[in-house]
């Protein structure tokens, strides 16, 4: 019996070892990229879709040329569940790095979770490209503790400070349209509505200080809960102030009932600002079409081309997934343009060499041209440059079921500089604003 067991055991062991060595040999020809995000939600789904598109395109052309060797991309999905649990997010990151042994990680959405995940990736010296969280601190850490955090890069969107800067530009642009179209003589009245969240708190003093300087009147500040489902009371208050423009700052679900109820109640003011939910295709359905005329900051819009890479990406994404990409689909350029192009350029997977090469690159991606900036002290931040010729983002407006680009359209950021992306359309005011202001 003993002899029989040995006879069975030895060949099984040999076969197992052979398979293992064979599998490892194949694995050695793979670049493993972890894609982390809230996979049950649109943000995570877009993370995954963008990454899949990049990996398929790269593998279809034979893979990544690392020195003399061609390596295929293998994606590993990790559900961070970060909307509900930061611990789940850190566990997912830990698993990607220690169990799945990924070379790189892309994704992340919620700042609090991304900061925790960032710590894990940095500890393991794994390059992590953030594709969702906007908080400045993610890159401030790189500047302050470079040796520890240098493996983190911002992919998308640009940081909170620049998101606010862009939102003010959009508000100013729409205010000009209101003045012209409705023949408003005095200052444009603005109601500021920001969800009660830490990232939006700093915007209240900024709005109070900046709007008067822009020639506008701030008529009130409302701070609903990020998960409020009924904002009719807030809207009644706003309507009583006679606001022409509602400056919104929403990253959570409140953006849907606010837009829907404002549309249903025909509040005679146009919504402009940040509303993450409104950047998704589902927004039209979720608001049952009442989100018409909402203007928001976004990364992509139908038929808008920031450069020659925009159209092929957007059309390819639409064809494959049947919806417009949201900004978290920036995993596409993070993998294809940031990581793979750099690896092929330097011919190695060494994270330190990739970091060094990335810091010095200026390259095009579908939504912008990326250049990593240094802070005032000349320290690397791995944050992306905002401004004409680099990342500007778009202002888009819901017009009859479609998100169309409305800015930059003749934007003059400096004397002699004018920026207009291909495919821009004029801003439309809601018809009930014309009715309210007696002009048809």
């Amino acid at each position: 019996m003993k002899m029989f067991k040995r006879l069975i055991f030895v060949p099984v062991l040999v076969v197992a070892l052979t398979i293992s060595i064979w599998a490892n040999a194949f694995a050695a020809d793979e670049i493993k990229i972890g894609v982390i995000g809230p996979m049950k939600f649109v943000q995570g789904i877009s993370h995954w879709n963008g990454a899949v598109m990049a990996a398929d395109e790269i593998n279809a052309r034979g893979g990544v040329k690392v020195g003399n060797k061609m390596m295929k991309i293998k994606l590993i999905q990790a559900d961070s569940n970060e909307f509900l649990s930061i611990t789940d997010a850190t566990n997912a990151m830990e698993r990607l790095i220690t169990k799945d042994k990924v070379h790189f990680v892309v994704g992340g959405f919620r700042t609090e979770a991304v900061m925790a995940m960032q710590d894990i990736a940095m500890h393991q010296k794994v390059i992590f490209i953030g594709c969702g969280a906007a908080h400045d601190e993610l890159c401030n850490r790189v500047a302050k503790y470079y040796d520890q955090y240098k493996y983190f890069f911002r992919g998308t969107p640009f940081n909170s400070t620049n998101l606010v800067r862009a939102a003010f530009i959009h508000v100013g642009t729409v205010a000009e349209v209101i003045k012209k179209e409705l023949d408003i003589k005095g200052p444009i009245k603005v109601a500021f509505v920001a969800e009660k969240a830490q990232w939006a708190d700093a915007m209240v003093p900024a709005v109070q200080a900046t709007l008067p300087k822009m020639g506008m009147e701030l008529v009130g500040v409302w701070r609903p809960s990020p998960v409020a489902t009924d904002v009719t009371a807030e809207l009644a208050g706003i309507q009583r102030t006679g606001a022409h423009l509602i400056f919104t700052v929403f990253s959570s679900s409140v953006g849907i009932p606010f837009a829907r109820q404002a549309g249903e109640l025909k509040v005679p003011a146009i919504q402009v600002g940040i509303n993450v939910e409104a950047s998704k295709d589902d927004f039209w359905k979720a608001t049952r079409g009442q989100g018409n005329y909402v203007v928001i900051s976004a990364t992509y819009a139908r038929d808008v081309e920031c450069n020659e890479l925009t159209k092929p990406f957007v059309e390819g994404y639409l064809k494959r997934f049947g919806e417009m990409p949201t900004y978290t689909a920036g995993t596409y350029e993070s993998i294809k343009m940031s990581l793979v192009d750099t690896i092929e350029m330097i011919g190695t997977l060494d994270p330190d060499k990739i970091v060094e090469a990335l810091e010095n690159r200026v390259y095009k991606t579908p939504p912008s041209t990326i250049m990593y900036v240094k802070d005032n002290l000349g320290r690397h931040t791995h944050d992306i440059r905002f401004g004409p010729g680099y990342a500007t983002g778009l202002a888009v407006q819901w017009q009859d079921g479609k998100l169309v680009g409305v800015w930059p359209n003749g934007w003059k950021p400096a004397p002699g500089v004018e920026v207009t992306y291909k495919g821009m359309k004029p801003i439309k005011l809601p018809p009930w604003m014309y009715q309210a202001y007696k002009k048809k």
Partner: protein, 291 residues
């Protein structure tokens, strides 16, 4: 003056929504001593059911609403029979079981419909203006439904044999049993009515808001606050408590727009204040006598 009108209208509407939810919750607690944390999860199930019927089958909103209410009632009664009845004697276990049921429903909805925000059509579209305040017809419907349901429920409890059995069971389960009332059956029927009320609330309220798998938690907190404020198990208390908290929320939003996010916290603070003065809630004792 205008702000007072805003507060009155907004408070009445919010109060009606809370009343609809709290009455059902109170009813099952009063009769079966079940603290049904899953109450608002049934509200969520009904809302998703309406979404599925209107979107996937293309049916109009009214039949979808009926299907949702019937489905939720059956689900509630089956849940009671299979999961809650066997452990009814252990109140702690029942409490934990209802939390688990709510979380299961949440996960199931999340799996079927993902975390995407969805919406359902209104039963009555458009709005009207009263003293310069715009009010949705759907909100008016909510107010009417809250009043009508309260009336129907009172008629059922005080004018029917089954209502008498429900009240008897609520008063003393053992004596009711000795008198020939099948108290387990009565509890199951009450569970059906309670869940039915949650489903009706879902059907009426959800067109004003959005569907997502966590939508059951915010109303749960306010509903429990209403019930505790009014007195656990008291229908009258739930009704009055709902309007008190509805008005408290409206005052916060209109008087302190910068603190609109605090409306829930202020309402809960009022509940705590009332409980310090009157630990049994506003109508806790009186209802015991009514029963």
């Amino acid at each position: 003056m205008s702000i007072v009108l805003d507060i009155i209208i907004s408070g009445v509407i919010s109060g009606s929504i809370y009343a609809l939810l709290a009455i059902g919750f109170s009813l099952i607690f009063g009769v079966a001593r079940i603290v049904n944390i899953a109450h608002t999860a049934f509200y969520m199930v009904a809302a998703y059911c309406i979404y599925a019927v209107t979107n996937y089958l293309g049916w109009p909103a009214v039949p979808a609403m009926f299907i949702a209410v019937i489905f939720s009632v059956i689900l509630g009664m089956v849940t009671y029979k299979l999961l809650l009845n066997p452990i009814r004697e252990h109140e702690g276990a029942v409490l934990i079981a209802t939390i688990a049921i709510a979380m299961i429903f949440e996960q199931v909805m999340s799996l079927i419909f993902t975390g995407t925000f969805l919406s359902v059509p209104k039963l009555v579209e458009d709005y009207f203006t009263i003293f310069g305040v715009k009010v949705f017809y759907q909100q008016l419907l909510t107010l009417g439904a809250a009043l009508a349901i309260m009336l129907v429920l009172l008629l059922f409890l005080f004018k029917t044999k089954l209502g008498l059995a429900v009240r008897s069971t609520a008063q003393d389960r053992e004596v009711a049993n000795l008198m020939g009332i099948n108290e387990s059956f009565v509890a199951m029927i009450t569970m059906g009515i309670s869940v039915g009320l949650a489903a009706i609330t879902g059907a009426i309220v959800v067109p004003l808001t959005i569907l997502e798998p966590h939508m059951w938690t915010p109303p749960l907190i306010m509903m429990m606050a209403v019930v505790v404020l009014g007195g656990l198990g008291s229908l009258k208390g739930s009704f009055v408590g709902a309007y008190i908290l509805g008005f408290a929320e409206a005052i916060v939003v209109f008087a302190f727009p910068m603190g609109a996010f605090l409306k829930g916290s202020v309402a809960l603070s009022i509940m705590i204040l009332v409980l310090i003065i009157r630990p049994e809630g506003l109508f806790g004792v009186y209802f015991e006598e009514e029963r």
